[in-house]
Symmetry: C2
Subunit: 657 residues, 2 copies
């Protein structure tokens, strides 16, 4: 029999991820609603409080306490705190039998029933004396004084003793159990508080070397800076650059991923490291670190941030290969292993051996790369293939960096099995790629959104819906024409608060390297691409409008306020989003080739809309207004003209259930 | 950076209750299917095994290891063990990177692609040498020998070296990681293995003092023994007796719970303890402990068990009051607190103070009461109001008793908030009362079964569906006549593998003490009741038949193999149960007063039944056979004749999806 046997049981604390093994995530300034099942045997009352420690407090600092309130249905306790500091918070719950509160409650019933309570008052005095022994300062003195009154000192009249006993101001003086062993403390849970950019932003991916008007002239950070005003005008929040470091020459890849390169071929930016330096150097053709800092500064002035790629791999020419051969996998002859997925060989890439003997130095060197670029003004990192590096490394590295810089944001680029994608989000990545790019049919989109919003996943997984990437040009885009790009852009920008496109999407670039491939022809990964950003057929107006609407309407800035609605036509996808009293209804024709029509069932009862009389809906995309009536309304979408309605429904005309 | 950083992640181990905080439960001889999400970074293979320790092993004993198998969809690992020993099992999972297996797999691909693998063989030899250093005995010698071959000893031809390298028999020799730090071990989970009686049994509750033909003559254990053959013939498994101990005289309750008793009034058996003894004594009017043991022996001979009531409270005359006043709550004047729920007073009962200074002695004394009756042959205890004693006490007490006597079974009689009822089941009670008695409408029954079968609850909560108790005569029975009793009996006996009735149910006793009360008139709790067990209108035939069917049909012996089916009529409840290739369909008229008809939708596709051609169903209750066709079939149930169909559907005529 252990003396720590709990008097009060605390179970099922929520929110939590894997019963507290991993942190939940919230955005700065949001309310965190905590609840738990808390109970004990018998009829005694319970005192319970939420304990919160903000990131700016030391481990030894005391907790902030917030009383928990009980709700009979559903038999749980609730409290709320506001996440007003960036970083890792801790929270837990403690509870104990409320001895004096229980006694007070019983006394009230006895008095109401007209019972003689002389003996009970002596018992109450004894409880207050016990409390006084554990209290300090003014509280101690007040408890001692009250105990004397209850006990009948100076022949206090019984009525006065009862009134003092029932005094509500006594309870707050006893914010502890009468004996320490009666206190139950739940395990400690963690909360990562990010700035809003981690959960809401529009990304634009571009290769700075392509920001040129001549494929023979390597674009520079100065060139790239000139594109920034346009991107800001289109409403993007984040400009993401593939690796900007020197590119290896050994086994450099040629255009269209050919295994040999010719002089002048620029190579893949992901083959990081050359004589000029490694992960903390800038490709000399782009400019200097100072030039990069100027680029970042310019973006910031325009209200945008720059995201860098963090790809932990080395070209054979990376300085680490010579300086730290022990950080790589070695063959029996002492040479270094290139990357392989047998029988495929990737001779231009050396993977790092994260479990090598000199692991501590390697992990710290990787962490220091991040600190270097943070010093240059970068706060957002898109992490390349994190699932090919140890989960334990990321859990350590992200926590270490964010303890120093809680305003940093890490996006996990992992296209792998769901358990591994979820694990990266759980251990600390602030946002994650998804399979959105491949989800083009209605049932796929419904399943994707159901997964993201159901259960614990919404507590830790923030999806970033990229509509394309340098690696993924989906067949839907290859064959769907301009309408397909408009549809996918609209879905990405409205289904998820974080979305992105990669250069060329706005121009509806749709040519794959060969049929059946998702790789772009003449992929920018291996060569410089020059574009006319105002070429005919572009969808810049769509982008600008959607980014404006996303900033204006809170409903589009949050993830979980989404419900997929049933419509009969399998080519039409319909969902509602809501926030702040505003209700949006998005109806999308998923068929880029043909008009589609369907009846849309508006949940009028739930939304407090009239079931009998007409109401007006406004299309935020076109400005058109329609008069609808009741639940079922007809919609027809011709992709040649418009691919979707994004309707603002009128405010509820009666109380919503 | 902690050196215990995991290489392999093990998550979401199932089955588990509250992430392993509480044990799961299974019946002896059943298979336990364990699964988990197990993954690591990169492409390497993983070695994973389930570790199991049976209750007969010491804490220091080694684990039994069972390899886990991976299934791509749903991306989890699986293994099964059989619970072939009563008591508390432990299980966990461990995993590590399968270095040699990964290397073998890569080598196979390289060889298939015709690559030169001379260097790889050297690497493979090095891996085998590392493994050999950690292996023992014959395995060590075999690994050393294989390493020599791979390494090219004695100019072994390359083809022979490759064959040896790919030899499948090498892998089982390496049942450990190449370095100990690479081993990940999940937390340890617990499993309580009970005998089948804990999960399947028909209970009969009777007051032994009422087994008499004259209310003035106190029934004895000898009298009660004479009833046993009849109960065995009716098919009951457990005969449960309310407390059999001496009954207090101070403040003894009179008939119908009156606050004063007259000489000759027998009092409530739950007011335990008098001059004649306490919890380990037998009421002298029932006989002696030896008489009780004879009663138990007789029940056992008839294939039944005796369950005793375990009610941890004392009458003011209980020997503990004088011997251990420190185990009770004391008032300021030194007197002992009677039970109260202010303003109500229960002066015939003294509650125990489970957190008193002398707690260890008290808890052990309570435990010793159980051990005493176990010595007398009792293996089943119905625990009275466990939720008014500390949860920590039960968790300790049940584990302590069951470590000595793993064949004991504890039924929690807690009618309280759901969290507390669930908590008692989680911490070790083998079965639990439910709110079944109050669930009489279709939606209530559906909700009850959904709760019991959904999620983790089925892992730890075994419902015992009592159709009535000495405290609960539901209004449905008071007003529904004989059909109501038949309906509730059928529901109890078919919905749950554990069910029970309390004496008088078979006679359809339905008179409450007053309108609006669920208490019986002239309740047996306070007086002796004499009955004619063959009185007209009894439902003995129903009981006998249902108990026979329950023993014969495995589907009725398990809980979770149940699906509630939709039927349009709100007065008809329909569910299917299945096991062992047999499919039962139960259709119950919940209206005891009027015939009800409905269409029943048979899930023919799921059950592999013909959708077009006729098939024959057999009513196990009546023996009637009906020709049904396709999905929708008509049913009419007139409660005057029959209250339900319990149909056996034909075996699937084609493969079931």
């Amino acid at each position: 029999m252990d003396s720590s046997l709990p008097r009060v049981v605390i179970e099922d604390v929520r929110p939590a991820v894997d019963a507290g093994r991993y942190p939940i995530k919230r955005v700065l300034g949001t309310a965190v609603h905590v609840s738990a099942a808390i109970f004990k045997d018998g009829h005694d009352l319970i005192a319970a409080r939420l304990l919160v420690k903000s990131p700016d407090k030391s481990a030894a600092a005391s907790w902030d306490a917030i009383p928990l309130q009980y709700r009979f249905d559903p038999d749980r306790w609730y409290a709320t705190f506001t996440a007003q500091t960036l970083g890792r918070w801790q929270y837990t719950i403690e509870a104990w039998p409320d001895a004096y509160g229980s006694w007070q409650s019983d006394l009230r019933k006895r008095v109401a029933a007209g019972q003689d309570v002389a003996t009970e008052l002596i018992e109450g005095a004894a409880l207050l004396e016990r409390a006084a022994r554990r209290a300090r300062g003014a509280a101690k003195r007040q408890l001692v004084a009250a105990a004397a009154v209850l006990g009948g000192a100076s022949d206090t009249p019984i009525q006065e003793r009862i009134e003092r006993a029932l005094d509500a101001s006594l309870l707050p003086l006893i914010d502890f159990p009468l004996e320490e062993a009666a206190r139950t403390r739940a395990e400690v849970f963690e909360l990562i508080v990010d700035r809003e950019a981690a959960a809401f932003s529009a990304w634009y991916e571009m290769f700075p070397r392509s920001q040129t008007d001549d494929p023979a002239r390597h674009g520079t950070f100065a060139d790239a800076s000139e594109r920034l005003p346009d991107l800001a005008e289109l409403g993007f929040d984040v400009v993401y650059l593939p690796p900007i470091h020197p590119i290896g020459r050994t086994h450099r890849k040629g255009p269209n991923n050919s295994r040999s390169s010719r002089p002048g071929d620029v190579g893949s930016p992901w083959a990081i490291g050359a004589d000029e330096g490694g992960h903390t150097a800038v490709h000399p053709d782009l400019g200097s670190v100072t030039d990069f800092e100027a680029f970042v500064k310019r973006a910031n002035e325009l209200g945008m941030e720059v995201a860098l790629d963090f790809a932990l791999q080395c070209s054979p020419d990376h300085p680490w290969v010579a300086e730290h051969p022990e950080w790589f996998f070695r063959r029996p002859d002492g040479s270094i292993h290139y990357a392989e997925n047998p029988p495929k060989k990737y001779e231009d890439i050396y993977p790092l051996n994260f479990w090598c003997e000199d692991r501590v130095s390697l992990w710290e060197a990787c962490r220091d790369v991040l600190l270097f670029w943070i010093d240059c003004g970068v706060k957002i990192f898109r992490v390349d293939n994190p699932h090919t590096k140890p989960f334990a490394f990321w859990e350590w590295c992200l926590a270490d960096v964010q303890a120093r810089h809680p305003d940093t944001v890490f996006l996990a680029e992992a296209f792998t099995r769901p358990n591994r994608m979820k694990a990266l989000a759980k251990l600390g990545f602030n946002q994650s790629y998804t399979y959105f790019t491949w989800k083009n049919s209605k049932w796929e989109l419904r399943e994707l959104m159901t997964d993201l919003l159901a259960g614990e996943m919404a507590e830790y997984y923030r999806p970033n819906f990229f509509a394309n990437t340098p690696d993924i040009l989906h067949e839907y885009l290859q064959s769907g024409g301009r309408s397909a790009f408009r549809i996918r852009l609209l879905l990405a920008a409205t289904l998820s608060p974080i979305y992105g496109i990669y250069s060329g999407f706005e121009l509806c670039e749709s040519t794959a390297v060969h049929e059946g491939s998702e790789e772009y022809q003449d992929s920018e990964k291996y060569q410089i691409r020059v574009r006319d950003w105002h070429a005919p057929g572009n969808i810049r107006d769509d982008i600008r409008l959607l980014n404006q609407l996303r900033r204006k309407h809170l409903a589009l800035r949050q993830l979980i306020n989404l419900e997929v609605l049933h419509v009969a036509n399998e080519n039409v996808f319909c969902f509602r989003k809501w926030a702040d009293g505003e209700e949006l209804l998005c109806i999308v024709n998923l068929d880029p080739h043909r008009p589609q029509e369907t009846m849309v069932s508006v949940p009028v009862e739930k939304l407090g809309l009239p079931a009998e009389t007409p109401y007006v809906v406004e299309d935020l995309l076109s400005g058109d207004r329609y008069t609808w009536q009741g639940r079922d309304n007809y919609v027809r979408l011709d992709p040649a003209a418009r691919v979707a309605h994004l309707l603002r429904l009128p405010a509820a005309t009666r109380a919503v259930a």
